[in-house]
Amino acid sequence: MTHVIQRLGAWTIARVADLGRMLNFLLYAVYVCVADPVRPRHIIKQISFIGAKSSFVIVLTAGFTGMVLGLQGYYTLTKFGSEGMLGVAVALSLIRELGPVLSALMVTGRAGSAITAEIGIMRISEQIDALETMALEPFKYLVSPKLIASLLALPLLCAIFDLVGIWGGYLVGVRLLGVNPGAYFGEMKNSVEWQDVYSGMIKSLSFGVIIAWVCCYKGYYTGHGAEGVSRATTGAVVLSSVLILIWDYFITSVLL
């Protein structure tokens, strides 16, 4: 019996210590970004990896998301005889909610897992220790460029996602199902406000921080051996996806 209680206590302490270590990690990463500026070349390389190379998968998912929104929205709105509002439904749900969240989830799956695996392997092959031995700040080379790059890349990916999604909705709603194209874009322009675009971009920026933070952290403190890296990668993808969805709820309730 005491054994069980002891294990519970140890587990709780480990989790709380983990949380504290995570926050320290983020604060230190931000401090390094400010105190010791990264070389632009490193940032460009990371933008290419996190942003540019994710754009194909973003365009693909955005297109189909917009198309299914057009389809579903049409069958719901046609019951009320207001197919003209299809553009509004597609654009608002993409810009406010689906664009930032889905693009962040796709980037987590594609780039986030790779970030964790990369840093994790550097950790278990003692490359990070080597940097420290040479008195080089590992954060400057491993964490800061990724943090800045995902902060820059996520809003751009989200904007691409929104636009491609709107065109996907246009393809299905207007071309396939025969909604009036003037109504589709006209009503959209009437209803979308700067506030909507702004809140979507704020979300996207914060998701960028979450992805880089969680994935770098998990890789940096990976377990031992190949199994440790694989567990860290899984953990990173799961944790950052869950955090994105939870954070999305809270930031929406604040911004609304």
């Binding site: 460009i44 990916l157 702004y198």
Partner: protein, 150 residues
């Protein structure tokens, strides 16, 4: 060769991203970097129930401006004060009638301007004198239900 390749790809990505962002904020979000292409007029209404900031201002169904702000003006006997920003170059006569209308039965509220015949235009910052309040459908229905229609 390899670095210039990465630079090109990243440059292209950033350019496309910023173009999309620009389209979203300027075309759909109606973000105005230069506020210089419109001027302000005020109008006092007895009721603006359902009207929201950012609603459109129309003449004959054509959008010519937006509602900038809605507030209560105690000096005017607690009537609703609506600030309208109207496209520059559009002259409003001083006997123009502003009314709060609804698009369809359950649609958004907007402001309809009916141009008058006067020669004197309203100056920027001036006031529209003639207004019609929002139609209260509930009141209208209850009048019919309780049979108080003359």
């Amino acid at each position: 060769m390899k670095t210039t390749n990465i630079d090109t790809v990243v440059g292209l990505f950033v350019l496309i991203g910023i173009l999309c962002l620009g389209y979203l904020s300027i075309n759909l979000g109606k973000l105005e970097f230069f506020g210089g292409d419109s001027y302000q007029v005020k109008a006092y209404f007895d009721s603006v129930a359902g009207l929201k900031k950012g609603a459109s201002v129309e003449i004959a169904g054509v959008e010519v401006g937006r509602v900038d702000g809605i507030s209560i003006d105690p000096k005017q006997g607690a009537r609703a004060r609506v600030d309208l920003s109207v496209r520059k170059g559009l002259k409003l006569q001083d006997d123009v009638i502003a009314s709060v209308r609804t698009r369809g039965l359950i649609g958004d509220r907007y402001i309809l301007l009916k141009p008058g015949g006067s020669d004197t235009p309203i100056e920027p910052g001036g006031t529209i004198r003639e207004t019609e309040p929002a139609v209260d459908f509930e009141e209208l229905f209850s009048k019919y239900v309780h049979g108080q229609v003359e």
